[in-house]
Structures are given as C-alpha cells and as structure tokens.
Symmetry: none
Subunit: 209 residues, 4 copies
DNA sequence: AATGAATGAGCCTTCATTCAT
DNA sequence: CATGAATGAAGGCTCATTCAT
C-alpha cells in the first residue's frame, strides 16, 4: 500500500503519478519498468517517490489493485440488473463490456494481462496473492448459479467452465486487436463475439441436447 | 544463428549451455534474463559465450527455434498417420501429445508461451518473424480440410477456429498444471481434455445441428 | 549539455571533474578515453557520473565547447582593439596569444587539436556540428576584410588563406613545443613567429609586388 | 618486425593480410582497431595471426614502416633526376607526386596521418622512434642544399622551412579533399598547389628581395 | 605451420534505493 | 512534505592474448 502521504497529495498530482506509472508498467515488464523514468515523466523528485511508496513493488501492487477496482466499477455500471439476465445474454454483455473497458482504459488491461501471462508464477503470487480482486471468484459463482438453474450441462465442472470463459474473454480481445484497428467501432467485434458465444453455447448449454 | 564454434563444441558442453540458457529464458522475461547468470551457471567464461553466440538475441532466437523443432519432432512421433484420423480424434491426440511434451520438456513450452503471450508485438515479430516454426499455419490448414470434409460448421471462420484451438490447447495445460502435480500420470488430465473436447465438439462440429 | 545536477555541484567538485576529464580526453582519443578512469581519478561514483552527464559524448561535447569558449575569452582579453590593427600586426598578436593560451591551458588546445586532426570526419561533425565555436568563420571574415582594404593580394582565395593561417598557427605551436621546454618564456618563440610571419607576409601581402 | 613465418607465407596471403590490416588501421585509431576484425576479414585464424606477429603493435609498426617505404619508392619513381631540378620546380613535383600517391594508395597516407596527428606523443615515439623513415630528414637536407645555392633567403632556419613545407604538403591534401571529389583529375588541384607554391616562393626565395 | 577455444579485464550504461538537508 | 546527490551492483558486450592440439 502506498504511504499515507500519497493519499494526502492534491488529486491532480496523485493522478498524474498514477497515470505515468500505469503507462510505464503497462508498456514494460515489471523488471524493465523504470522508477527513474516514472519520476522524470511525472515530474516529481526521486525522494518524493520514496515518500509516497515504500518501493517499486509497492507502487506496482497499487496499480494492479486499482486496475481490478476500476474494471469492476466499470462492469457494474455497464451491466445493470445482471442478476436478472439469463446466462448467455449476460455473457454477451460481459464480453462486450470487457471490450469497451479495454477501449476506454487500455492501460489497465495491458497491465493485468502482462502480469497474468508473463511474469513468473512466483512473482505473480507475490503480487496478486494479497489482492482481493482475484477475478475468477465472481465468475465461478455465476456459473454455478447458471448450472443450478439448468442453463448449463450438469456434467461439466464449474471451475473449468469459468476458467474457459476467462481465457476466451482474453483471447477474443487479442484476436480482435490483432486483426482490426482498435479505434474502430464495435460492429466487427460483435460478429466475432457472437460466433464465439455461439460455439460456447452449443458447447456448454443444456438446451443443446 | 549461433556461430560455428558453438556447434563444434563437445556435445556435453553444448547441451549444458543450452539447458542452462533454457532454464534462464523460460523463467525470466527476455530482458530480465541474464547472460551473466547463464555463463556462471554453465561454467563458461563471458568471452566464450560471445564466441558461441553473436549476442543475447542470437541465443534467444536459437532456443525459440529449437523449441519449435523439438515440439514438431515430438508431435510427429506421437501422432502417426495423423492425416488418416478424423478431426476430433486428431484433436484429442494433439492435445494429449501437447501435454506429454510439456511434461517431458516443460522448459520449451514455458519459453514459447512466454514469448507468445508476453513480449511486445514488435519484439515477437523480430524474433519469430524469421523462424520457420510459426505454429498456427499448420493448424489452419488442418481446420480448413476438416471443414471441407463436412466435419465442421460451414459458417465458422477457419482462422478463428484455429486461433481458438491454439488458445485452448495452451489454456488446458495451464489449467492442468495449476491443479495437479505435474509428475502424476495422465488420467486426471484426460478427463479434462475430454470435457474440453466435448465442449468444442458440440460447439463447432457439423453433426451437431 | 551536462544535466542541471552538474551545474548545481559545488565549484570545487565541478572543476575537479572537468579537470580530470580534460586530462583524460586530451591524452587519449575519444574512444580510448575511459569513463572508468575519469570517475576513479575524480573520486566520484559511476552512478554520480551519469547523474551529471547523460553519456560519454555529452561530457566530451561539453569539454570541446568549453575549450572554444575559454580560448575566445582568452583571445579577446589579449587582443583588445583588434579591429583597429592592420592585418599582419593583428596576426602576430593572434599567434602569440594562441601560444600563450596553449601555455596556460595546454589541455584545451590538445583536446581541440585531437578532434580536429584525428577523429573521423563524421564523428567530428557529430560533435562540433552543433557547437557555436567553429573557429574558422571568424578568421575568414577577417581575411576578407584585409583583402578589401588592399592588404592582401587580390588573386588569392580568402578561404584558402584562412585555412593556411589556421594550419600554420597550429603547426607553429607544434614546432615550438617540440623543440623547447614549454615552461620557458616566449623569447625563442617570438623569433620563430616572426620568421613565419615574415614568410607569410612576403607570400600574401599586396605591398610585396 | 613480423616473424619469419609471415615472410614465408605465399605472397597472395601475405598481401591479403597486409591489405586488410591497412584498411583497419587507417580507418580506426590504433586502440580502436581490432585484431578480431582483422583476422576475420583476412580469413585467417587467431592463432595464425600470433604466429606471424608477436602482437598488435608489431603489426602496426610493420604497416607504418611499409607506408614510408612505399611512399619513398613512389616518389623516387615520380621524381627522376630530382637532384638536377631547381628548388621550386622540385617542390612542385614533390607536392603533385604526394597527391598522386595519396590518390593511388590513400590508405597509407591516412595511416601515417593518423599516427602523426592523433596518437599521443609517447605512443608515436614508441612506434616511429625505431623506424628509419622519419620523413623530414630527407627534406631538411634538400632545403639546406637549396639555401647554399642561393635559392633561399639566408636568414631562415632550414629546419623550420622543412617543417613548414611538410605541414603545407599535408594541409594541401586535406584542403583539397575536403573540397573536391577525390576521384576527379588533378586540374583543380594544380591550381591550389600553384597558389600555395606562389605564396611559399614569395615567402622564402632569395630572388624575391 | 595452422588452428580456434578459452579467458578475464575492461568498456559504457541503467538501476532501485538511501539519506542529509 | 520535498529534494536531489550519492551509490555500487548489475547489465550486455569487445578486446588482445595464450595455449593445447
């Protein structure tokens, strides 16, 4: 956790630092990211930095946490009444909201992707282990509920389904941005999402039999 | 490509270096990996290193290439007569073979995963661009053939399917080794593979309609 | 340009570093000069060095610039009313002042000689290109003026004359310090200067015809 | 001196090595020149190199010596009956021959220039001190003779005149190649040479008074 | 006579962190 | 709260030379 001094800062300064750090960590691996560059770009002194954060890892953890927070806040705003939706319409909303979030705050997604996919297992544990935003928990609950309500095949393992969905939601974004100009609107994206959802639906829904 | 001097080395030494380097690069990002550590662990002098490889990237590229080579060699040995198999049985063999390879040479998979998932697009291109082992090409061809033979839904985009399968094949290994002791035998694994395949099959095969 | 941190240093330290660097670069070619030696002799840490200068070239450029600055400052102090002098008396003053400068700050002259005479044309351009102390411009102007006032033969190319004078002014110093003990006073020197000037005068002045 | 083994080599190989080394040393300062590059470009093994030359300096000295030898050989071929010429016609021939030599063997001139102008005095002494081709000796003798024959002003110091001429002969080449395309023929050059000679003549010849 | 693997010192540069003010 | 000078370890890489074969 950043030190209290950081939170005492005027909002403008605090956000400037956050933004610059986000930029650095989302474009470089943890070890390659440079405090030197951060303080320079944020226009603060080295000494100040160490008065806000106890060390590099402290800042990093803060950003990772904030990324989770922001994403959840965003998703909750996008998917109102999500507990009244059926599973697949919900999933569709979830995917689209995920893509929208990525478009509006690409740094956060990059940051999180980076740690999930590229840092060593040990390092990941060290950083995320203490965070409360372990993304999957929420989804597993939702899958379980859907299965209980007969929307999903009984024989499938909910953990596995949740895992599969998470992977697909990341993959779909990768796939999309590998092919398209990210500033484009969402039409092309929806097509892919719908294809992917159709496959998933045929694959895991009960009605399918 | 490593210099000729590297290939002139006694096999034992050459393999020792390869092994140590593999260990280093599969456990650290490219930039974080250290030549210093490699030469120390491999018990060679820094000067020698640069007589074998022209630079860090040279060694890295060599390993990435070798990983592709080894994996293909392994898969070809595992999946004989693969062109006589139907699509889903083939896929099953492919997944299992992939897992087996990971078990026998976990470093190579980690290495390749790392670059595919975590290094910057530009860096990836720089390293893999010149390699002949671009994994997806082979799979896309195979998917197209399956679709022509009526095994897959016509409306689905082969590139997307291939992409999906590749992602799943990686995910499945992640999932498995996150849950199980990797030295265990394959029984538990097969269950998961079969679940996943069942989903895929329901999702993309033609007979399903 | 050195970083601000360098100029914030206590004068003693700043001058110590400058002096040590000057010593290093004036006795070795650019590439042969060693930052390691500089920091060691100046008794600063390597890390500090890079807080003062962005890199080796930065320091080097600073010295070259400073050499130009110092020389011009010195010459202006020595040759007051230089625009009221006739050409050859002026030249005599210039030569003598040059020698005096060399005696009082031999490092600067050595430094500048070194780059003018020995580094590759491309490197020279890279370093001096951006400097405002391109020595010849001033002299060419002065030669042109002298020619217009009928002091020099009309048929001679001013650029060539300026070039010739510059070369001679360097040569004369070389010659002198090759023969004499540099701590001696200037008497012997004046003889040589006068001989050289006499030759030049006979060679290029108009009254000569 | 190179070891006997070097001279036992087939001429082709010996010349190849010489050429490559010349290329390296004339384009880089002594310390920057690389044995590694030389053996690579000359296609010989590291071990062989050290069987031909006892070390880097040995090779370097050999080249410097050879440069002197070649230049003298060339000049002697160009300026036949030079002892029957008067001083200024001789000087003109000398300058032109110098330029021609530079055009035909630019590497040698670059090599010699480099050591004369850029290496430290101590290093120069170490290399050239032992050489028999100290260029000036020959010229001083010639100047003395000219003075005795009344061609030059009595009051001028022959050493100084010889020094001056040497400097000019180098400067003139610098000046020319800074302005012109070196592949051009000699017409433009002759003009400059003649201007320069005219200055010199007015400056130092006796008839001038 | 020829080879080429081995070596360690040295190169310039970047880094996260400390601490006195 | 803010500052920024100081630091030494570590980074990748090049070098001339030796020596066993």
């Amino acid at each position: 956790m950043p030190k209290q001094t950081f939170f005492n800062l005027p909002a403008e300064k605090r956000e400037r630092i956050t933004q610059v750090a986000l930029d650095e960590f989302s474009n470089n691996s943890y070890h390659r990211s440079s405090i030197n560059r951060i303080v320079e770009n944020a226009n603060i002194s080295k000494g100040s930095f160490y008065q806000y954060f106890s060390n590099k890892k402290d800042l990093y953890r803060y950003l990772i946490d904030k990324a989770g927070e922001e994403k959840i806040k965003f998703l909750q705003k996008e998917i109102v009444d999500y507990d009244k939706l059926e599973f697949f319409p919900f999933l569709r909303k979830l995917f689209l909201a995920g893509i929208k979030f990525n478009q509006s705050s690409p740094y956060y997604d990059k940051l999180v992707d980076r740690i999930y996919r590229s840092e060593s297992e040990q390092f990941k544990e060290e950083i995320i282990g203490e965070s409360k935003y372990k993304s999957n928990d929420f989804l597993i609950g939702y899958v379980k509920k859907a299965r209980e309500q007969g929307e999903l095949k009984e024989e499938l393992n909910p953990e596995m389904i949740a895992f599969l969905i998470t992977e697909l939601s990341v993959s779909i974004v990768d796939y999309y941005f590998k092919m398209k100009d990210p500033t484009e609107d969402l039409e092309g994206m929806m097509e892919i999402v719908d294809d992917m959802l159709e496959i998933l639906k045929s694959g895991i829904s009960e009605d399918n039999s």
